[in-house]
Amino acid sequence: MTILHLCLIFSALLFSLGLAAALARSSGILVLLGIELMLNAANINFIAFWKFSPNPENGTGAMFAIFSIAVAAAEAAVGLALIIAIYRHQSSIRLQDANTLKG
Amino acid sequence: MSASSESILEAFPLTIRDWLASVVPLDWLQWLILSLIGIVAILTVFGLTFAFTTVTERKLLGRFQNRLGPNRVRIFGIRVFGFFQPFADAVKALTKEDIVPAAADKVLHFLAPCAMVAFSLLGFAVLPFGKHLSLLSNIDAALLYFFAAGAASELAIFMAGWSSNNKFSLISSMRALAQLISYELPLLLVAVPAVLMAGSLSLTGIVVNQGGDLGILNWNVFTPWGFAGFIIFFIAALAECNRCPFDLPEGESEIIAGYLTEYSGFKYALFFMGEYFGMMSLSGLGVTLFLGGWQAPCAALAFIPSYLWFYAKLIVMILCFIWMRATLLRLRMDQLMRLSWKFLVPLALVNLGTVTFWKYTADWEGGMLVARWLIAIALVILPFISLGKVLSSGLGPRKYRYA
């Protein structure tokens, strides 16, 4: 077991926590937060692999993390706007209620 | 670090710290003590500055309005123009009843003032107080750290507003958040030019970049972009610390005391303290970015230790804050937003262009130097005038239609 393993396990657990939140909570906001956490877990992987890569000086992992943070910010903004729109539409942010497309 | 050219005073605080640390034999304990001494020093200096700023502010406000201001408090019969006021205030705040509303979210209600003070103290960690005085001097992205720490204090305000379970508190914390977010943008944008010129995000680097043979003229504020940036920074900083004329979140005429409505006693005092710490750290940042940090205005005055210069500039900034408070009226919410988004942000963006021009014309000489200055000044003045026209269009002396 190396430190890299530890980092990866940390990231995996964080990912699973995010997944659990997305699966077990009904509030749309919390589901979104869970997804944000999963993204963060991915970022942790990037940073970890960058740190332990053979040539970290070109900084690709850190670069990727920065871009991913920027994209995550956009994702959060759009996601929460969607949730507000859903709320306005059906005055609830329970995702179980958002089943208009049910077959 | 050549000691010969500097006075002993320059390194005096460091000497004391090292001496204190050397008492302890253990290696890791020494490290701990070294850190602790820095923290304690900051807390003491700025805590006292906070205390005396409050009384100075009240006294100066009095003078600005042709009054005397507080001058009564005495300790053991000694009355130094009322400068013991803060101690009386502290005793009063400590002994007052701490009221927590029954419907409040108790945990957050308690945490909010603590978080406020803690986050507002974070900024001090990276400020270079003197040539050798900075807690985290080796930090590379100090400016980014500063703003990240500042962003966190929004959370405390939200916590305060929400946990009080009071509609005024909530409205005011929403207002405060909107205001902080809106004014963080110009603040960040005008910090970028200084970074651009210094080629470094490190605050120490930015200060060093403002040194040189010309002394005071090397300071960023004495360039067209620096001057404009400093003004924008000052306005945005006023708004960031909820100071008059941007003290809408505490607009007592509309929403009682804003998010402080449900706070009393020492918690209230903590908020107060947090705001003043925020003001001081922002002033420190302004000094660092534009006023040459700890640099002395000319080489002849360099015998005064650098940290004293920094402190003097900081005090001047704070006095300007007070002066503003004594002069200006509170804005309306829509005016506040308009000022930021339609005036400061565009100006700050234009300023980015100006500084780029400035940087790329650094080698112009002679007549071209004059041209460089003229163009840069025009780049500052013209947008200001035209945007100012747009901003103040439709305003003017009030017309009374039915009078």
């Binding site: - | 003078r63 002066w323 005038i385």
Partner: protein, 209 residues
Amino acid sequence: MLGTGILKGLYITAKNLVGSYYSSERLTTIQYPEQRAQLPENYRNFPFLVYDGEDAIDGLRCTACKMCEKECPPQCIYIIPERDEKGKLQKKPKVFDIDISVCMGCGICAEVCPFESIKMDHHFEVAQRNRFAGLLLHREQLAKSNKYYHSIRPKEATAVDESLAEEKRKAEEKAKAAAAAKEAAAKAAAAKAADAAKAKTDDLEEKKN
């Protein structure tokens, strides 16, 4: 241009700041407990009762006419007139209380008093520990000498004194005149009585006859 107004404002406040240190006209603050402002003569606060002479209770001008009690808008005056042993009303108050926690200092009592007895005071430091009993002033506390009255509002007091003296003089004259008239009337009555007696005797004599 934008910002000139702000600069002007800053200039004005800066002028205040500097000016307040050397120009005493600017700094109008009076350091209250040590320094006191000269109150204008017509300043009024709560009412007091004027007495003449040395003794506070005996010299009270008040006649317990209850005029002020009736007129007082917040009804903060309470008067019980003195009675002698037989229960006859005396022209003196036995109880004269003013509740200054209720009094609004309107001065109507002083306006309506026909005897120049109740006047408005300059004294304003009336804070008390006991907010019920302490603020209910009795006639001993209310009674203040005419000298004090002169000291707080000299003009008015002099005018009052003059008019009182005038009244007194008039009253004396009137009394004198009344006395004279009484005398004359007595004389006339005596004469009339004599005439009547005489007539009666005459009548009786006639009847006898």
